[in-house]
């Protein structure tokens, strides 16, 4: 009984980690721009593919051992994925922002960007799935009937460290202060001598970089890649961010783990086909009870 509880908690933490890492990106961009970046789930997918290509290159072309490859794959995936996010901002969102376009058009644009990423992938790489290469030997540990792998632990630890890092950026650094300032009053930011676009780019770098990291970890954990892999998980992470209180990074983190926990609990008691139905219903109930999300105190309190 206790073993199965602990087992479930570990599994919940692992899934929660993926949701949380993606939700952080949704919430950062929303907090700064009140833009729901619906392409974000697909940025996660692109991150997984970038990790795939970088890993394959390191292993086969450079012939590096797996752990050396991993050390290179982590930063390269994050950097390259953040470039994808920045490119979207540059070519799709920024022109609309400069024209003062209504939010509806920006959200639709974000949705289209996501679809373009998915279908560009399909067109360029074809429909066949890709198998992610093994970078580190997965060790299975069994302590008192609870089994876990080094990879699962790494995923969970990474999510926590990422949260602590982003929380530090937002609350303690000048750039984080500027991000919070934008979320409150975009108009006055340039009057402080702060280049607005530069802060927005940093926001996209952070959000997409960690989506890339999530893509890499996901691909290592579930090593089959396909163009639509970001769609459902992206939606779920978005919902997790909203339930946590979108705009607040603590909310994204808690929301991600909450969703992970609900899903694993549902599967423990019901057939697995009920998973998404019941977990979305629970989230809906939470939102009905607290429409601003768990951490959403007021409209003005973002990031």
């Amino acid at each position: 009984m206790l073993e199965s509880l602990i087992q479930n908690i570990i599994n919940a933490l692992q899934w929660g980690s993926f949701y949380a890492l993606i939700a952080l990106g949704y919430t950062l961009v929303y907090g700064v721009l009140t833009l729901i970046n619906f392409a974000h789930g697909d940025v996660f997918m692109v991150g997984a593919y970038i990790a795939f290509f970088v890993a394959t290159f390191c292993l086969t072309v450079l012939g590096l051992p797996g752990w050396v490859a991993l050390i290179l794959v982590i930063p390269l995936t994050m950097i390259l994925t953040s470039l994808v996010g920045v490119t979207l901002e540059r070519i799709a969102y920024r022109p609309l922002r400069k024209k003062g376009a209504h939010r509806l058009y920006v959200v639709i644009t974000a949705l289209m960007c996501g679809l373009i990423l998915e279908h560009a992938n399909l067109a360029i790489l074809g429909a066949s799935r890709k198998a992610f290469p093994v970078l580190i030997e997965v060790q299975v540990y069994n302590i008192g009937g609870v089994t876990f792998t080094n990879l699962k632990i790494a995923v969970i630890v990474t999510a926590f460290l990422s949260f602590l890092f982003l929380h530090w950026v937002v609350t303690k650094t000048r750039i984080g202060m500027a991000m919070r300032a934008i979320s409150y009053d975009k108009f006055a930011v340039p009057l402080m001598g702060i280049p607005l676009d530069q802060i927005i780019v940093v926001t996209f770098i952070l959000g997409s970089g960690f989506a890339g990291l999530a893509g890499l970890l996901f691909a290592m954990s579930y090593p089959v890649l396909e163009p639509y892999m970001g769609a459902l998980i992206g939606w779920k992470a978005f919902i997790a961010a909203v339930v946590g209180g979108i705009g607040d990074i603590r909310g994204a983190f808690i929301g991600g783990f909450l969703l992970g926990a609900v899903e694993i609990m549902v599967v423990a008691f019901f057939p697995s086909t009920f998973r998404d139905l019941i977990s979305f219903s629970v989230l809906l109930a939470i939102l009905t009870w607290k429409p601003t999300g768990l951490f959403g105190i007021a409209q003005t309190t973002k990031i």
Binding site: K98, M192, G193
Partner: protein
């Protein structure tokens, strides 16, 4: 001439808000721009700050020169960072979700890293002691007058030597109004050039060296503070007879 506006015409979309206005501010002066609601005062300041549309208008003719050079291509953050020209906007626009101290710190964003800003914070706190008492509070919780002081303090911390203020006395109790104007005088005595937009023409003209009267996007009168105070038309329209 530090700032000169030359035949400036600007539009919001298709609507023209300034119809070729010209005025200038010399170094060390206090110049005031007065006029009724909707005259184009805020529009003028936003144009000078080079804020982007849709909040600010598009320049369609004329020029804005700072120390002799056109700044029409300058970005709003560069106006603050490189020209040391700061704006205290109408309605204050402080960052209510940040503490008072964070608001002040943020204003030093574009300035050289590694500078010790402590003496400058101290100077702001000497100027506005209330801000020191409340430095750890979320700035949303400040009273209107305190928020105005924060807005001014914040602008000063950008390292400006030219300060523009848009109706800083709006919503302030008379006592606070006079106090604020005294502080502006003090800043000017210490070398700050000031362009002050006011609806409270009487107070502004008493403080300023020179003034311009703006009416529906045109300058309709100009002169020294005393001249404008004595001008019968100005008296009738803006000084209550």
């Amino acid at each position: 001439m530090m700032l000169s506006i030359e035949n400036l015409e600007v539009k919001y979309g298709n609507i023209q808000a300034l119809h070729g206005i010209s005025f200038h501010v010399n170094k060390g002066e206090i110049v005031t721009l007065i006029g009724a609601n909707g005259a184009g005062k805020t529009t003028s300041l936003h144009s000078i700050s080079r804020l982007p549309p849709p909040e600010a208008p598009r320049v369609i003719a004329g020029d804005i020169r700072f120390n002799g050079e056109s700044i029409l291509k300058t970005k709003p953050d560069q106006v603050v960072k490189d020209l040391h020209l700061a704006l205290v906007p109408e309605g204050r626009h402080i960052f209510g979700n940040l503490t008072v101290m964070e608001n002040l710190q943020l204003a030093t964003y574009a300035r050289a890293k590694g500078t010790d800003f402590e003496p400058e914070y101290q100077r702001i706190f000497d100027l506005f002691p209330r801000l020191h008492e409340r430095r750890k509070q979320r700035s949303e919780s400040l009273s209107g007058g305190e928020q105005q002081m924060l807005a001014v303090g914040r602008a000063l911390l950008t390292g400006c030597n030219f300060l523009m203020l848009d109706e800083p006395s709006m919503g302030l109790a008379p006592v606070l109004k006079y106090e604020l104007f005294r502080k502006l005088k003090q800043l000017n005595d210490e070398g700050m050039t000031i362009l002050l937009v006011e609806q409270n023409a009487n107070l502004a003209l008493h403080l300023a060296h020179r003034g311009y009267v703006l009416d529906t996007g045109k300058i309709v009168a100009e002169g020294t503070g005393e001249e404008l105070l004595g001008n019968p038309e100005v008296k009738k329209a803006y000084l209550g007879g």
